[in-house]
Amino acid sequence: MDMPDDKDAPPTSKKTSTKPIYSKFSQQELPAWKPILTPGWVISVIGVIFIPIGLASLFSSDCLPPSHAQNAVAYIQSDTTNKTCITKWTVEHKMEAPIYIYYQLDNYYQNQMLIFVSREDRIRYLSLLTIQPTLYLLNRREYSKECVRKCIVSILFFSIIAVIVFKTSNCVDMILVNSCRYGETTNCFPEDKTKDNQPIVPCGLIAWSLFNDTYKFSTNNKDLTVNKKNIAWGSDQRSRFGSDVYPKNFQRGDLIGGAKLNESIPWSQQEDLIVWMRTAALPTFRKLYGKIEVDLEVNDEIEIAIENNYNTYEFGGKKKLVLSTTTVMGGKNPFLGTAYLFVGGLSLLCAIGFILLYVIKPRPLGDPSYLPWNRNPGSIK
């Protein structure tokens, strides 16, 4: 019997595996450090103690004549009364040069929002301007010549708008660069224009309320020179206040808020204004007035002539004069040292407590007999 020939079997197909490639990351087997809060590690957490060094003398006196005690506002607003008062103060500790002079204001909300105009809106506006041409480009499926031309025109148009907005937005308080245009003061309402519609430079309520008390110091009938240079930040003088911009129409309205400015000095040299325009964070603040660059010995008597011009009586504020030296840590601040001592002491108490617990009541935390399912079989809580 003739057997039929078997057909050739089909070639064996190679079995392709769908198993994913092994990696330590995908299998979550990365090498890891697994710390645990051992008593030795916890006990070593002790605070570091720093004590800033510095001496400060806080001088506060009522510079109001007794005859005007009942009508302080009228006294401070009058132009005819004599507002100078003389006070004397004895140096209790030696103060080495330079000695910094500060005026301190209490209950003065320089951080009030209504004083400010939001300058960040320009950045958002510019972001919106750049969004539209970008979306226009991304949404196109093909880039024909006409499309490219339209895109370029669109980009140029929005760029021009952006440049104009940047230029016209520069003339606001605190950002007064060289290209400031005098006509653009609309952001500074209500201190933006005079009655005859002339722009006020510098504009805004912060500049308008510039502090205007003055101080003169003398000791042993010899005047102490107050150095008022380099009291502002360099970045303000170089970049934010223009060197070719001069005050104009300042303090010429019906209401006088503070000091008048010398219109022959450019803004970058008006350091009193620059210091004042760095707004304070809290209602109680100090600002640098100047420096005395000679040493003051113990028991020296300082005579201070204060020109009481700034009106804090109307809103219940206070004015103080501070003389201080500094260290690398700045002025004297009992809080930081006290806080360091307190936290360090607290940590030390915790450490001692944990040591006592560790010694008196040792507990083998890794003992499996404490596991609840070993204590009570079948129960979990």
Binding site: Q28, L37, F50, Y109, V328, G330, L336, L365
Partner: protein, 562 residues
């Protein structure tokens, strides 16, 4: 089941096989020589989890067979309503006076690792139900094979194979059958409930076995609560001869009745309803097709992978999600409450403490990556210890890590951190001179200092909260802090009309000043001390289970009794 055959010599034999309870009734007196031994063997086989059958035979003579054949043919050809019953009667008469041959035991092969897997899940206090379409005997055998039923467990069997109902079924009255069945199921459930009440306080564990017909009535509206109450006190539940619809109904009953999270796992098309009804459906891909896999949430290749899926990845996922959400509460409260405290000092005029871009980028760059690393990679206990201590899974079941007490604790931690950051920064920096040149800090410097402290505290808090430091964790935590300084330098170096009030704040004013760094260090350390103290006290005196296991790993004790 019986077969009648004739051999080549013309002799007629009847060969019969069946369950032992049925077969031993039909033996002849002279065919019981080995009955006791065989019964003993059958029980041994059943205890070992094998499926048993008993075999017997007898010889028929010619007249006997002819009589049976005539009667059987007559009944088969009739069109009476009780044909099935009559056929059974005729068959029953011929299956008499059998001679015992022996017994067989067959192992129903399970996948590898299934008994161990179910052991682990039972140790994790997960209630396990088996919903199968098999017969009750097969289901019980499978239960023993996979360690769902164990020696020492008392079995509660609910079924409807009782003489009264069978008599009614012969009568053919459907209403009477339903009524009697319902009463019987109700009676059996009540009886079982009393049995459970009587056994409370002892270590007796129970397993409930119910067949599909009884399940129909047990799932009715007026009885399902009783049924659910009964099952909640049983360690295991087996529903045999259940239809796919009944599987879904049982799952729905458990899900809505207990409010707990349910997981269904199956490999066939008849499991699709159950998989979709459960909170989590897991399909096993294999020879029965892909219907189960395509309708499930997670697909695995073998049943034993369920052990690692639940005890390792389930535990990890619960810890990661709960820690991540609590940390989100913490970091946003820490940031937002400093804003609120500053508003108090700005007479609530709406002046923001921080620059607009600081506000926008806080959650995007400076505090998001560490929490992402936590949510993806964190492991409080390694996989090996998760499998060694299955009871750790109960942390998720009892919601220990995401209870309201813990959430409110993290919120309180956020408020405490914000308060400490705000007041320490303001008291330390203001109003005295800020640096050696005698200049004082303004609003911008306070804002940057406070923001720096927030970034440090939030990222260091993450470093304290996690117990699993890979290289990714280090890069994300310290990188977020470094990225803040980098952003500060780059943003501050832009022209003043772009960087506005942050212009050169860091480069010119803060970085050269030692008090900035001292204040940052002080505020960061001080703000974290309350959390460290509470964490140490909690771990020392009231440790959680995963912390106990961490200590066990730390002390390298390997001979741990389970």
């Amino acid at each position: 089941m019986s077969v009648i055959v004739k051999d080549e010599e013309g002799r007629i034999f009847l060969l019969c096989k069946g369950a032992d309870s049925v077969m031993f009734e039909r033996l002849a007196k002279n065919g019981r020589k080995f009955e006791e031994k065989t019964l003993e063997h059958v029980r041994e086989y059943a205890d070992a989890g094998l499926r048993t059958l008993v075999l017997a035979f007898c010889e028929l003579d010619e007249e006997e067979y002819k009589e049976f054949d005539d009667k059987f043919s007559e009944v088969k050809n009739s069109v009476a309503a009780d044909q099935e019953t009559l056929i059974e009667e005729v068959s029953d008469k011929i299956e008499r006076n059998l001679i015992l041959l022996g017994a067989t035991a067959v192992e129903d092969k399970l996948q590898n690792g299934v008994p161990d897997c179910i052991d682990k899940l039972a140790q994790a206090k997960i209630k396990i139900w088996v919903l199968t379409g098999d017969k009750m005997e097969t289901a019980i055998n499978i239960g023993f094979s996979c360690h769902l039923l164990r020696q020492g467990m008392k079995q509660i069997i609910i079924h409807l194979e009782i003489p009264e109902i069978q008599a009614l079924e012969k009568a053919g009255d459907k209403m009477a059958i339903a009524k009697a069945s319902r009463e019987s199921v109700h009676h059996q459930i009540s009886e079982a409930a009393q049995l459970l009440s009587a056994s409370r306080g002892t270590c007796q564990t129970f397993a409930l076995i119910i067949d599909g017909k009884s399940l129909t009535y047990a799932l009715e509206d007026n009885m399902k609560n009783m049924f659910l109450e009964l099952t909640s006190h049983c360690a295991s539940v087996i529903c045999c001869r259940s239809s796919p619809k009944q599987k879904a109904l049982v799952t729905r009953l458990v899900k809505s009745g207990t409010g707990k999270t349910t997981l269904a796992i199956g490999d066939g098309a008849n499991d699709v309803g159950m998989l979709q009804e459960a909170d989590v459906g897991i399909g096993i891909s294999g020879v029965e097709g892909m219907q189960a896999v395509m309708s499930s949430d997670i697909a695995i290749a073998q049943f034993r992978y369920l052990e690692r899926l639940l005890l390792v990845h389930g535990h990890w996922c619960y810890r990661r999600m709960s820690s991540m959400i609590c940390y989100f509460f913490y970091k946003n409260i820490t940031f937002g409450f400093t804003l609120f405290l500053y508003e108090v000092y700005a007479s609530f005029s709406g002046q923001p403490a921080y620059n607009d871009w600081f506000l926008s980028l806080y959650s995007v760059f400076f505090s998001s990556l560490p929490v992402i690393a936590l949510g993806v990679l964190d492991q409080d206990v390694s996989a090996r210890y998760c499998l060694k201590f299955p009871i750790l899974y109960q942390e998720g079941v009892q919601n220990i890590l995401f209870s309201w007490r813990l959430i409110l604790s993290w919120m309180l931690n956020g408020f405490i951190s914000a308060t400490m950051i705000f007041f320490f920064c303001t008291k330390a920096i203001l109003p005295q001179a800020f640096d050696e040149e005698g200049r004082t800090a303004g609003r911008d410097m306070l804002a940057v200092t406070m923001y720096t402290c927030v970034v440090w505290v939030v990222n260091l808090q993450m470093a304290l909260a996690i117990r699993y430091f890979t290289l990714i964790q280090h890069i994300f935590i310290w990188g977020s802090i470094a990225y803040w300084y980098l952003f500060l330098m780059v943003y501050g170096a832009m022209p003043p009309n772009i960087s506005t009030n942050v212009y050169k704040v860091f480069i010119e004013t803060l970085a050269p000043s030692p008090s900035f760094w001292v204040v940052t260090f002080f505020v960061a350390i001080s703000t974290l001390i309350p959390y460290i103290s509470c964490s140490v006290i909690q771990m020392w005196f009231f440790p959680m289970y995963h912390q106990m296991v961490q200590w066990i790993r730390y002390e390298r004790k390997t001979n741990v009794p389970e």
